[in-house]
């Protein structure tokens, strides 16, 4: 059966009279539209540089006069001596970050939800998302003081851990743990609000049936937040290649740099550091396009295994 279509508001016809009537609205929005086009759409148009040879000298030329080189920039990027390791780092840090971050947030929310002393619960939550608001520079300053060789952690436990000076995937773990420490309370907010939405009647019924608290957490709370977790997972898969350069650069040092380099940083090093604008743009474009593809795949997979989809 067809639903009766909702009566749409009569579509206004374009006329100078209408434009005059709405001149204040135009005045209040068109400048921002121009701003948006300059700062957001012009860089998108800049993707064309991925297919051109663009170095500082040729950048000044009009777009059509620069030399088109097809996919050369992409091939150069993929065959770069840094690329393979960079790709492995990016994927490694992403996966590890998703796993550690999600697990930490879910477990934190799950147990916080069980606290029955309301005051204590509130204090804990308030303290937990404080680090979220602190900048990465500050976090890096603190982390290096605590984790460097001879830092507070090593002196506290009297062991040599070399957390920030081991040129191995250990650095991924360190980065992801620091990130989890910073974001766990913040990420838990969304799970806690999902938990607040679970029907209390279900818990009552389970209690009557004799379920203990662990059984309630396992069989009611966890399934209750599953849809939220799936949506967040799909989104994080979509941004799997977008590991931020800022955090990596600030936390790394000369020793661990091999394992800290990620795609966005690589784009900076090649694009701005060595002035190969075309190559840098190509790497950025690769990141975006793969991100969109991954998002669609994750979304499809979630639909196939019968989970809620994003779109």
């Amino acid at each position: 059966m067809k639903k009766p279509k909702k009566q749409k508001e009569a579509k206004q016809k374009f006329s100078m009279e209408l434009m005059w009537k709405q001149r204040y609205l135009l005045m209040m929005s068109v400048p921002f539209l121009i701003w948006l086009i300059i700062f957001k759409y012009v860089p998108l148009w800049g993707w064309i540089m991925a297919f051109q040879e663009v170095v500082p000298k040729s950048f000044a030329l009009p777009v059509w006069e620069r030399r088109f080189v097809g996919f050369k920039n992409f091939i150069d990027a993929f065959t770069d001596r840094l690329f393979a390791q960079t790709m492995i780092n990016t994927i490694g840090i992403s996966i590890l970050g998703i796993v550690i971050g999600t697990a930490a947030a879910v477990i934190f929310a799950l147990f916080l939800n069980e606290i029955r002393m309301e005051g204590f619960k509130k204090v804990t939550q308030t303290v937990s998302y404080l680090p979220h608001f602190v900048s990465w520079v500050i976090i890096a300053s603190i982390a290096k003081m605590l984790l460097n060789d001879g830092g507070a952690i090593e002196t506290m436990f009297g062991v040599k851990l070399h957390l920030m000076s081991t040129n191995s995937p250990l650095f991924w773990v360190v980065v992801c743990l620091i990130n989890a420490w910073k974001e766990v309370g913040w990420d838990a907010i969304i799970y806690l609000s999902a938990m607040a939405g679970i029907d209390q009647g279900i818990y009552e019924a389970a209690k009557v049936d004799g379920a203990n608290r662990f059984q309630q957490m396992w069989h009611i709370t966890l399934p209750g937040i599953k849809p939220t977790a799936i949506v967040l997972l799909i989104m994080s898969v979509g941004s799997a290649l977008n590991v931020g350069m800022e955090r990596q650069m600030l936390l790394s040092n000369g020793i661990v740099q091999d394992h800290a380099m990620v795609l966005s940083w690589f784009a900076y090093v090649r694009g701005i550091g060595s002035n190969n604008y075309g190559l840098g743009t190509a790497i950025g474009m690769f990141q975006s396009v793969v991100g969109i593809i991954l998002l669609f795949i994750a979304n499809k997979v979630a639909g196939m295994i019968g989970e809620s989809k994003l779109v």
């Binding site: 209040m28 916080l112 029955r116 990465w136 800022e246």
Partner: protein
């Protein structure tokens, strides 16, 4: 209702979360203690949360050396200007986009929302700002490229849409134009959501580091100075010199760094109670939308 008897599990939780609070707070206390401690004494062992030899010399150094004061002032200025401009412009645009009778409502909204999902990326943006617009090392590079966040516009638009239409209609009958309706009626009534957006933008501005790193190294902010200290301290400190007692200065990079870290963190702590109140509300508001 539920029986509120406390079992063993409740006490385990209590201990667990006290540990959690400790892990979160300890690094900050440690930094604070080092910044208030005598630099020479700190080199002995960095592991303490109560200053062993109290001194304000580290802060004195920071606040008397000129290459620290200017970045601090710049950080404050950039945060104030960025937040002021951001809040006014965001609400203006949000108001226009909330007006269903505006001819371009749909098309403008779509053009704005697309930019939330696709962006040109770092290199084209860098070239636009540095090469085409020549905004490098100019104060406005901190303000203009990021002056409006589309997310905040959407947040504010849904708030305005929730206001009774009668307010606007009454003003219109009294002869007010759209600019007056926005500035006299909508803007003042948006206070709760304005607070949320102002905090978002202010924290973003205060914490931002990449904008200086990419576009304005000659106009360093506090965050950038801290970054430079972190980088340089690793080069400058010579362990042999330290061991031989050749470091005679009253300041050490470590202690100065910790003092700057504290100074950069304090504004966040000051606004934190407000952040708490509005941010979390703002976040769920954004989540519930549509």
């Amino acid at each position: 209702m539920l029986e509120k008897k406390k079992g063993i599990f409740d006490y385990i939780l209590l201990v667990l979360f006290c540990g959690m609070i400790f892990i979160t707070v300890y690094p900050f206390l440690n930094v604070l203690a080092i910044s208030l401690n005598d630099p020479m004494d700190t080199m002995r062992n960095v592991n303490f949360i109560i200053p062993r030899k109290f001194t304000l010399s580290n802060y004195q150094y920071v606040f008397t050396s000129n290459n620290m004061l200017k970045p601090f002032a710049l950080s404050v200025l950039k945060t104030l200007v960025g937040t002021g401009i951001g809040v006014v412009f965001t609400s203006m645009l949000a108001y226009v986009l909330s007006r269903k009778d505006f001819y371009f409502n749909k098309s403008f909204t779509i053009i704005f929302i697309i930019t939330m999902y696709v962006s040109g990326g770092m290199i084209p943006e860098y070239l636009l700002i540095m090469r085409t617009l020549k905004m490098g090392n100019n104060f406005w590079v901190y303000i203009i490229p990021g002056m409006i966040w589309v997310y905040n516009v959407i947040l504010m638009r849904s708030f305005i849409e929730g206001m009774p239409m009668a307010l606007q209609e009454a003003a219109k009958i009294d002869g007010a134009n759209d600019l007056v309706i926005w500035s006299r009626i909508i803007f003042p009534l948006c206070k709760p959501v304005l607070a949320t957006v102002a905090l978002f933008v202010a924290v973003g501005q205060w914490n931002s580091f990449m904008d200086t790193y990419l576009y304005a190294r000659e106009l360093p902010t506090l965050q950038y100075i801290l970054y430079e200290i972190i980088e340089n301290a690793q080069i400058k400190i010579d362990p042999h010199a330290a061991a031989l007692g050749q470091v005679k200065n009253a300041v050490s990079p470590m202690s100065v760094r910790m003092a700057v870290t504290v100074i950069a963190t304090v504004p966040i702590l000051v606004v934190y109670p407000f952040l708490q109140k509005y941010f979390v509300g703002g976040m769920t508001l954004g989540a519930v939308k549509d």
